[in-house]
């Protein structure tokens, strides 16, 4: 099996159960996806890794038709409420039009291949697809 790397370090590929991991402030529970210096909510400096639920509801979206050169359009960008943790991601495996993409849509995490590099390593990203 070829080697894989995640698009971002908060995506854990983990065989058959890929998921996202957030940095949770142990003091106040605020969650973040980036490398932290301190908690923006309470100034705490201790964090623990927590698994983010892989299913959620589409809380906001846009269908991007115009983007920087090299970015394939149209695509659906959205914000998914994963059990109380908001996640930014693309909505995939759905026609990119407002007849199909709806606010409140139930979605689940899925992975997408970004291709392989010169040494044969595959980069894997994530998106959200309709639950059924």
């Amino acid at each position: 099996m070829s080697k894989q790397v995640p698009l971002v370090d908060y995506l854990v590929l983990d065989g058959d159960s890929p998921h996202l991991v957030a940095h949770e402030c142990v003091t106040c529970g605020a969650r973040y996806f980036d490398r932290r210096n301190a908690c923006a909510s309470c100034e705490g400096t201790e964090f623990r890794g927590v698994d983010v639920p892989t299913e959620g509801e589409l809380r906001a979206f846009t269908i991007v038709s115009f983007a920087a050169p090299g970015i394939p359009v149209p695509f659906v960008a959205g914000i998914v409420d994963c059990g109380g943790t908001s996640v930014r991601g693309n909505v995939v495996n759905i026609p990119p039009d407002p007849q199909h993409v709806r606010l409140g849509l139930k979605v689940r995490l899925t992975t997408t291949s970004l291709g392989t590099d010169a040494s044969g390593v595959e980069a894997v990203g994530f998106g959200f697809e309709p639950v059924s």
Binding site: Y10, Y32, F66, I71
Partner: protein, 399 residues
């Protein structure tokens, strides 16, 4: 008690294409126009706050070299789309702190012909996946994990409001744009002064659903400047100068306090609500007292949420408020009678002073064909992503 602060002179250039004028030319036109309007010269000014994002660093000093080098302190300020409002805040704070009696705030931008101002800016793809940055990303994230473009970010902000409260649709957002373009036909300084039908707006080029091209702010060139003065100094000037002066009853700048999701999708709501509440308290007026509002309609989807954030309607009531006709120029609370950023244009650093110019012009009764009769109180709002929110409330002089 600290003394009150007034706008004595103010000027806005025509917004649009100025191919033969550079940033300093436009800034000079605005600054000299504001000084002329005030009846003062650079020799009277004790502090200069200069806003510009896209030009060379040290814009304030470059401007002085054209309009007057008097040795006063210059503050070069940047705060995204709130840069102009921040410049006004800086001049206003210097006066309140009694460091000087007169300040000049200038904002300029040259954006004609520029496309998207954000997005796709990360490093390009390489032939080896190598993690970098705060997310350990092996490739640029714009387009792979959502969108970084402004039309896309603000589209989601409007859609999120719809998800929370209901009632939004592509057509509703397009009708907000229809209003602002209709208003712009009365503004000779607007970059675009064309009325669009609803069909034309909805069938124009889609940028980021539900924002089509005319629903996005117009990139253009422009500048605006204001001479700010202490009440003490104002009372030494002529009655005519005092009559045309406009009181800054509130001047507020906020950044976004932490909220769940604010680092995932910018939260433009909480800091605007904070700024509005502080401004109403400072000024001792309420939303029902406002005769006009110039708010930050960088996209049609943004205008809707700010009706609510600025407390112009009940919480969750922005759709009904718009549908009632309240925000048209003949409505209860006229919003963006200048045409707004969608048609007047959005030369970023000028915007937060240009909206004060619009309000001042109405309060002085000098707005010509688009004058709102009897206007006495107005509110100007800008938001820069990141975020910074500026809210000013202006009142007509009682002299």
């Amino acid at each position: 008690m600290t003394q009150s602060v007034w706008i004595l002179g103010i000027h806005m250039t025509r917004f649009g294409k100025h191919p033969t004028l550079d940033t300093v030319d436009l800034g000079s036109e605005a600054a000299r126009g504001a000084l002329r309007d005030a009846g003062l010269t650079m020799k009277d000014v004790g502090v200069l706050a200069a806003g510009n994002l896209m030009g060379s660093p040290g814009f304030g000093q470059a401007l002085q070299k054209q309009i007057g080098q008097t040795g006063i302190p210059v503050y070069n300020v940047t705060n995204a789309c709130a840069t102009g409002a921040t410049a006004v805040r800086v001049a206003s704070m210097a006066i309140k702190a009694e460091e000087t009696d007169v300040g000049l705030a200038v904002g300029v931008e040259k954006l004609s012909g520029m496309g998207l101002l954000a997005g796709g800016t990360s490093a390009g793809d390489t032939d080896t996946w190598r993690p970098s940055g705060r997310f350990g990303a092996v490739a640029p994230l714009d387009g792979r994990i959502g969108t970084e473009t402004m039309p896309g970010v603000f589209a989601q902000i409007g859609m999120e409001y719809g998800h929370r409260y209901g009632g939004t649709s592509f057509e509703l957002f397009a009708r907000i744009s229809e209003k602002n373009h209709a208003h712009s036909t009365l503004n000779p300084l607007a970059a675009y002064q064309k009325r669009f039908t609803l069909d034309e707006i909805m069938n124009d080029v889609m940028i980021s659903y539900p924002n089509t091209r005319p629903m996005c702010s117009a990139n253009c060139d422009g500048a605006a400047a204001a001479v700010i003065i202490s009440e003490r100094k104002l009372r030494t000037l002529s009655l005519e100068q005092q009559r045309r002066a406009v009181k800054i009853s509130a001047s507020v700048l906020t950044s976004d306090p932490w909220q769940e999701a604010c680092q995932v999708l910018p939260d433009v709501n909480t800091l605007t609500r904070l700024a509005a509440d502080q401004a109403y308290e400072q000024a001792g007026v309420g939303p029902e007292d406002l005769d006009l509002v110039e708010l930050h309609d960088c996209f049609a989807t943004a205008e809707l949420v700010h009706y609510d954030n600025l407390r112009l309607c009940a919480e969750g009531g922005a759709v009904d408020f718009f549908n009632s006709g309240a925000t048209w120029r003949d409505g209860k609370t006229p919003v963006n009678v200048s045409g707004g950023l969608e048609s007047k244009g959005h030369p970023v650093s000028a915007t937060g002073i240009a909206n004060l110019w619009e309000i001042t012009t109405h309060l002085r009764g000098e707005a010509g064909d688009r004058q709102l009769d009897g206007a006495r109180v107005g509110l100007a709002h800008v938001i820069g992503l990141g975020s910074a929110c500026g809210v000013h409330i202006l009142e007509k002089a009682g002299v």
